[in-house]
């Protein structure tokens, strides 16, 4: 009996937590289908009288979202692939190779994880502007081609692979390069998937940086594009929420498909994303 009550209580708490987490998403969906007056009505309403699907069409037409989509996809893909490539190489070096100053460099890199991203905005902006890269795709991509978080996560994973596997590969005639890409990477699949998804989501959602380093319309990414609904005359909440819905939809789908890897990958390293 006691066990049963504890069980029920546990589920009640979990369900409540789940509802609270979902609330903003449900509110977004609800608002995206409201008329403009309904969005600001007090007391708030959850289910609009008539579902305004036209908000989605109007929102998509309100700004060049097709271009924004392409930009987001391009930037996210290049950033993620580039970052994975550099991180896998660095993680291999930190976990397997011996070189002078390895531990000191590692500790310094570890230290950079404690610097908040916001603090890096100004120095990074200054660097880019000196390189005349502001307002280019490079500005959106280059600063994110290395991530120590990814390096660290992968290194922890690579280190858990027994040395013998490396020795076996060496004896079998594999080079370090071959071992890395044909043995270590395939067996670290779940961690690599986890950091990939985290990076895709982070890159897809990033707002501050694209806003600062780009000002031409054709370089805008989706989150920045959402500003189109906020003007001097106020915010069109219904259309903003409709646009937000289609902006986050790809990430929701991605997450649903890969959540098993994400959870496994993160719980293994004992780090939060």
């Amino acid at each position: 009996m006691k066990v049963k009550i504890a069980m029920v209580l546990r589920y009640v708490i979990l369900i409540l937590g789940g509802i609270i987490m979902l609330m903003p998403f449900l509110w977004m969906l609800s608002t995206s289908l409201k008329t403009q007056p309904e969005t600001v009505k007090i007391p708030p309403i959850w289910i609009p009288k008539q579902l305004q699907f036209s908000n989605y069409i109007d929102a998509f037409k309100a700004a060049p979202f097709a271009q924004y989509f392409l930009n987001s996809i391009f930037v996210t893909t290049v950033t993620t692939v580039g970052q994975l490539f550099t991180s896998i190489l660095a993680a291999f070096a930190f976990s397997r190779l011996n070189f002078y100053g390895k531990n000191i460099i590692f500790v310094i890199f570890l230290g950079t994880m404690m610097v908040p991203v916001e603090m890096l905005i100004i120095p990074n902006f200054v660097t880019l502007s000196k390189l005349h890269l502001v307002n280019t795709y490079a500005a959106l991509i280059v600063p994110w081609l290395a991530s120590f978080f990814t390096v660290f996560t992968l290194r922890q994973n690579f280190q858990s692979v027994p040395d013998q596997l490396y020795y076996a590969a060496k004896i079998d005639g594999a080079s370090d390069w071959h071992y890395l890409w044909h043995v270590l990477v395939p067996i670290s699949k779940s961690t690599i998937t986890a950091v990939t998804v985290l990076q895709v989501i982070g890159s897809w959602n990033s707002f501050m940086w694209p806003l600062i380093v780009t000002n031409s319309e054709n370089l805008r990414t989706l989150p920045v594009g959402l500003q189109a609904f906020t003007g001097d005359a106020g915010t069109n909440y219904a259309q903003l929420m409709a646009a937000s819905t289609f902006v986050i939809l790809p990430m929701v789908i991605l997450y649903l498909f890969l959540q098993k890897y994400i959870i496994a990958g993160i719980s293994k390293t004992g780090l939060k994303g």
């Binding site: 027994p162 076996a168 060496k170 004896i171 395939p186």
Partner: protein, 353 residues
């Protein structure tokens, strides 16, 4: 391939030596065990043979060729690790083919060779499974097949049986012996288990604290241990060891006086303590008191007290009572004297080293 170590030493940090001046030759086509307690340097020795580890000083020869500076690949060794180290994302067949792929063998050819090897080690019905789906013994077989794939100059096995249960261990050690004899490849086998070493090897190298203690056949190790360490390490139950001072004149007249003067320790195998005089084979007699007597099946063991020291014998013919006085006869084979450095100076075959 014949392997020769010439004065090979190793130290990791330049000050503390792990292995000291190893000198030995492993004859071609034999199965040799490197045996010793944990931390004696046996796996390290194997790593140096493989080329994964370079010696600090000394030279290593394969046949007449100096391979000291060559890496594992150039030495063409095949190796089986304690945890098998199979590639978990590849199937059994792909695992066996991996070294051939690295050696750029054409695909149909490497598949053919891999299938032959799978047959040799009896895993031909498992070739499409991933290693995770195999039992420990099967993984072990696959690891051996992979190690043999590129027709290695040497097959090296690092504690290959220690992750298997007792029954499988016996089966696999016979398998290793069979595979070695079928292929004729020179095989070096590292183990801490004397039973394993005694059963399958042509020769056994005993290591302790980075020093080679003895390198000979199993029989010689047992009958003619070159020192106290080997005498204590080989043999089950363990040899009785006493100080020479524990004897009160029992050995006088029976052992030459000059040897007796140098002797420090005495080793007596449990089967060399008999309760009857066997004439010429008996060296001396000692008076003991029975402390424990156990009988199970056809085995009879007795724990005895001899001048306050414990002795164990397995050669009792009659049933004994506790606290009973008993005269025991020391047999020639199985009675050894060691000097202050632990070197054998009496007993066994004097000319065998």
């Amino acid at each position: 391939m014949e392997v020769t170590f010439k004065d090979v030493s190793l130290s990791y940090d330049g000050t503390r030596e792990i292995l000291h001046h190893l000198n030995f030759t492993i004859p071609e086509g034999t199965l040799v065990s490197i045996l010793g307690p944990s931390g004696c340097g046996k796996s390290t020795t194997l790593m140096m043979i493989s080329g994964l580890l370079a010696p600090t000083s000394g030279k290593i020869f394969f046949g007449d060729k100096d391979v000291t500076k060559q890496d594992a690949l150039a030495r063409k060794v095949g190796m089986v690790f304690q945890n098998y180290a199979l590639y978990p994302h590849l199937t059994v067949l792909e695992n066996i083919m991996f070294p051939l792929k690295m050696a750029k063998v054409k695909k149909p050819e490497r598949k053919k060779r891999a299938l032959e090897l799978a047959k040799l080690v009896h895993v031909e019905d498992q070739i499409n499974k991933k290693p995770g789906a195999l039992s420990g013994g099967q993984q072990q077989r696959v690891a051996i097949a992979r190690a043999l794939a590129k027709e290695p100059s040497l097959l090296l096995l690092d504690e290959p049986l220690s992750n298997l249960d007792a029954r499988l261990r016996i089966e696999m050690r016979e398998e290793i012996r069979r595979i070695q004899q079928e292929t004729g490849v020179t095989t070096i086998f590292v183990t801490h288990d004397q039973d394993e070493a005694l059963h399958i090897s042509d020769h056994i190298m005993v290591l302790n604290n980075g020093d080679m203690q003895q390198f000979s056949s199993a029989e010689t190790l047992y009958d003619n241990p070159s020192n106290l360490f080997v005498a204590k390490f080989i043999g089950e139950p363990v040899i009785n060891t006493l100080a020479i001072a524990d004897f009160q004149g029992e050995l006088d007249q029976h052992v030459p006086a000059d040897i007796l003067k140098q002797a420090v320790s005495v080793g007596i195998r449990p089967e060399a303590l008999q309760d009857h005089d066997s004439g010429d084979d008996t060296i001396a007699a000692i008076e003991t008191t029975v402390k424990e007597f156990e009988k199970y099946g056809r085995e009879k063991n007795a724990q005895l007290d001899f001048h306050g020291k414990k002795l164990l014998t397995t050669e009792i013919e009659n049933t004994l009572e506790k606290e009973q006085k008993l005269t025991l006869y020391l047999q020639k084979s199985g009675f050894y004297l060691f000097d202050q450095d632990g070197k054998r100076i009496f007993g066994g075959d004097q000319d065998v080293k």
